[in-house]
Amino acid sequence: MKYIGIILLAWLSIQNQASQDLYACKNVKIDLFSSAPIEDIKASTTSGTSVYNAATGDIAFSVAISSFQFAKSRMQEHFNENYMESDKYPRASFKGKVQERIDITKNGTYPITVTGNLDVHGVIRPRTIQGTVTIANGAVSMASEFMVKCVDHKIDIPQLVFKNIAESIKMNVSATYTAAK
């Protein structure tokens, strides 16, 4: 009887621990930037979502393409309609694993390597992306900068407007997590 109680307690503590290691962020900031001969392309969103499992290193990001805001509304329309086809592929996502073990009880900034699959425009590419994790008194935040090549994700750039658009886009992602229940 006592054993069962202890085993149950142990099992519960595992369960509890597992859920405590889950971190979520509902307002991931994502910036995209590309420099082109005629005009720079710049957009940002703060409505990305992310989940990080500190115990296993699993990490996932997702963002609605239509949430990216451009200064030029026509550029935003083109981005959604002609390039990203957000009616067909409404979200871009990344799912992977942090290679390093991060001790979330120790304050500091740690470089991390994340390997996983990046899904943009319906094309999934395996990627290894560098980033940093910052732990400050239990608060977990992440930042990363990486490039996305348009050809890799079958994002067509018509010859007619090729001067306007760069072939690769620089992405900046930053997320501050809170513990999920």
Binding site: I6, A10, S13, I14, Q17, A18, S19, L22, A24, K26, P37, I38, E39, D40, K42, S47, T49, V51, N53, A55, T56, D58, I59, A60, S62, A64, S66, A71, K72, S73, R74, E77, H78, N80, E81, N82, E85, D87, K88, R91, D156, P158, L160, V161, N164, A180
Partner: protein
């Protein structure tokens, strides 16, 4: 106490084993949390790009110029391609221009535009307001988009017989544009219209000052950059229905190809309507497709943005 410590040890081992042998369970936890996070997002997003330009061929579309953007329009209609006024002697109408329209449309907000334009036809100066009342949404909670258009035009040219007072020079157009994007390639709109000319236009005995008209227009994308556009209107006017022979009126009909580049939209059209302003082409289209009285025309729409992003501009 020892027992308890050993159990702790077992617990710790089992925890690490759990983590190593059953990562699938944790992945599911990550996934389900991710799904929960994304489910809370609204799905009733407004449908964008029902049309690519604020004007299709003849009439206006439900699209508005967004806040702090300025749409500059140059619309041109050449002379009759064939028929008595066309053919080789006018190089198929290219030597003539039946109407030239220069227009500016400024977005006060994302839904409200101020319109200004001048036509060669009747030398009319138009001032108008366009307001997007309703947007189509992706979840079909609103299956259509509705935009209201109001325009006042003044004919500046000298004609003392037709315009005894200054007030007689005015013409008004009120329009409700109702559109639906059926698929990413096909959009259709109908636009019930009311037209008033303070002095009958054209200035012919028996003509009516007020009339209703109905416009139907569609856009079919052939690829990412190009679309086939059709624009038709029917004025409900017994005077126009009964006019025959040389005085006959015809329903304006335009067909064209719309090409979109980065900041421009070009439309190359054939249309029997000579005029570009709504009040003029609805009231005064006397050219017949069947007689070769249609013309080549084009629309150039260039969008300028005044939103603050100056630092990034390179020119």
């Amino acid at each position: 106490m020892k027992k308890f410590a050993s159990f702790l040890l077992i617990t710790a081992i089992s925890t690490s084993l759990w983590a190593q042998t059953k990562p699938a369970a944790d992945t599911t936890a990550t996934d389900s949390l991710m799904n929960a996070l994304n489910k809370s997002e609204p799905k009733d997003e407004p449908v964008i790009a029902t049309f690519k330009s604020t004007r299709l061929i003849l009439g206006s579309t439900t699209e508005t110029v967004k806040k702090n953007n300025l749409n500059f329009l140059v619309i041109h209609r050449f002379g009759d391609l064939a028929g008595s006024q066309g053919g080789g002697k006018t190089f198929f109408g290219l030597d003539n221009s039946s109407d030239i329209y220069i227009g500016f449309e400024y977005g006060v907000s994302n839904n409200l535009d101020i319109l200004f334009g001048r036509s060669k036809f009747a030398q009319q100066i138009d001032l108008g307001l366009k307001y997007a009342v309703l947007h189509q949404t992706s979840d079909n909670s609103s299956p259509i988009a509705i935009t209201l258009l109001g325009k006042a035009g003044v004919k500046a040219y000298t004609d003392d017989i037709a315009f005894p007072t200054f007030g007689d020079r005015f013409a008004y157009v009120g329009q409700a544009i109702i559109a639906r994007k059926f698929s990413s390639a096909f959009s259709l709109q109908i636009s019930p219209t009311f037209v008033r000319h303070n002095s009958v236009f054209p200035y012919v005995f028996g003509n009516e000052k007020d009339m209703f008209a109905l416009g139907v227009a569609g856009r079919l994308k052939v690829n990412k950059r190009m679309a086939i556009v059709v624009d038709y209107a029917h004025p409900f006017s017994s005077f126009r229905n009964n006019a025959t022979g040389a005085d006959a009126f015809y329903d304006p009909l335009g067909v064209g190809l719309e090409i979109e580049t980065g900041g421009h939209v070009f439309t190359i059209v054939f249309s029997n309507a000579k005029a570009i302003s709504e009040s003029s082409y609805l009231a005064n289209t006397q050219s017949d497709w069947g007689k070769g009285q249609f013309r080549l025309g084009f629309t150039i729409s260039r969008m300028f943005s005044f939103n603050k992003d100056k630092k990034d501009k390179k020119y």
